[in-house]
Symmetry: C2
Subunit: 289 residues, 2 copies
């Protein structure tokens, strides 16, 4: 079994996990979560989104959270869906930004009311500006395997967005199974093809556990040589625009599997398990255990 | 990704899943469960255990259930822990029997109060008698990866029992991760070594989802060429002698994964999902969904 010796887990709970949580979460609680995650060994986290507080009230404290992360001295990613958001992120001294585009055109139209090409045009401007500022760029491809509106997403659709992200110089491309519809075979096949087409590009796996396959999908992607994965403490998260897409890959589950397999992550398992009840207490969907 | 084109799932819910359920389950409910599973396409199930009703009241109806399975015309397995049990199974016209021995001596001593060699001696007699009667023999190795009493179980311990089972002519050897402590790497390694040592032996994978790795472990075993797996409808089951060993690999989860991967199982997914609420309603641990 050919798998990477070392894996980077990128904790996305504070942003992806909490962004659409209906229960109000105080900025103090978020800071506490981020601090605990940093103590558990995460070298990189996704912590904020520069989005309209009107649409996403949970992320209204993006400036304060970014300031906190800067003071804490951690590397973090902030979601910036458009140029205006990027400008706010630059003001906040954010070191890494993330943009996202669906592999499915239907999803883009319904989710962000733009065609794929319109989104890519804005991304081009954003990446140029980000690079001028020395900001690391993460490019998410949402719905890389299937889409709740159109069903299956073809490799050609996925590759169309990936190729443009490569051309635009994304520092890493994050392949998202946003609604949890991937299976280990398609995961292996798509990552192997992408690695073959773009050998110099860094790819990240982002899985949801909607159908309980997140760990098996992670294993399959590892076998295709992928060594970076997003995960969310306590399995926080889901996508409100994607019916049924509850539950990111849980950090504690993937960290345990990797540790048991002898794969290095640099994480402290005991510290991680201590954070889980607190993380779950922030969610209205999950029960603290 | 090199995986079998066809997989046999052996449904163990009616026996392994219900055996230690504290809630009383009527014989009628068990028959209904078996009938529904047969309708969903299972060609083989584990349905009964010939054990003392004093110790395992849930299996007191082994004779009646076996008669029902004979009338239904399905192939089924009955657990027979000793010669006396085998004689009862012969009387009941059981087509397949299963014995079990732990790879961990500590487990054998604590669980069945016999050393590994004492157990193997009884197995030898049982297999001889079963073969005379034309009965198919399944040999379970419990605690093939780790044991709640002694911790890690070495490959040598596992192989000691497997080698004897091969010598005794077991028709299939079922490698059980009874307490859910395996990980995909050790699963792949051990199955690959066993297949290499005993190329003509049929091995079965039996995983528990205690640490959420059951599907990933199944995927790993498939890559080592294993094409038979036990699963339990609704994830019924667990092992009362093994602290924390709740939850067999859920039939509906593994059947979905295999179907999505294009692996043939001969099962009807829709029928399976319809059985899940009923199966869970029989358990005091699981909530019907």
């Amino acid at each position: 079994m050919n798998i990477p010796k070392k894996i980077e887990l990128i904790e996305v709970g504070p942003r992806d996990g909490l962004q659409n949580e209906p229960k109000a979460i105080s900025t103090a609680s978020k800071k506490e979560l981020i601090r605990q995650l940093a103590d558990a060994g995460f070298s990189r986290m996704e912590t904020a989104a520069f989005v309209s507080p009107k649409w996403v009230p949970q992320m209204a404290d993006a400036d304060e959270i970014s300031q906190f992360c800067n003071d804490l001295g951690i590397t973090y990613i902030a979601l910036t869906p458009n140029l205006k958001a990027l400008e706010r992120a630059i003001q906040a001294n954010v070191p890494q930004i993330a943009v996202f585009i669906g592999a499915s055109s239907t999803f883009n139209q319904k989710n962000i009311n733009k065609t794929t090409d319109e989104s890519l045009l804005e991304t081009e401007k954003m990446f140029r500006l980000a690079k001028e500022q020395g900001i690391f760029t993460r490019a998410y491809v949402s719905m890389s395997f299937a889409c709740p509106y159109q069903g299956n997403v073809s490799f050609e659709e996925l590759n169309y967005v990936c190729r443009r992200f490569v051309e635009l110089g994304a520092d890493e491309i994050d392949i998202g199974d946003t609604n949890g519809y991937a299976n280990p075979k398609i995961v292996y096949d798509r990552f192997a093809r992408l690695k073959d087409l773009y050998p110099d590009t860094v790819f990240v796996g982002h899985f949801h556990d909607t159908r309980k396959m997140a760990l098996a999908n992670t294993l399959a992607a590892m076998q295709a040589g992928i060594d970076k994965f997003d995960s969310s403490i306590g399995g926080l998260g889901g996508c409100p625009f994607s019916p049924g897409a509850t539950g990111n890959l849980a950090t504690e589950e993937v960290a345990l599997m990797l540790s048991e397999m002898g794969v290095e992550t640099g994480l402290k398992l005991e510290e991680i398990s201590k954070i889980v009840p607190f993380a779950k207490s922030l969610s209205s969907r999950l029960q603290p255990v």
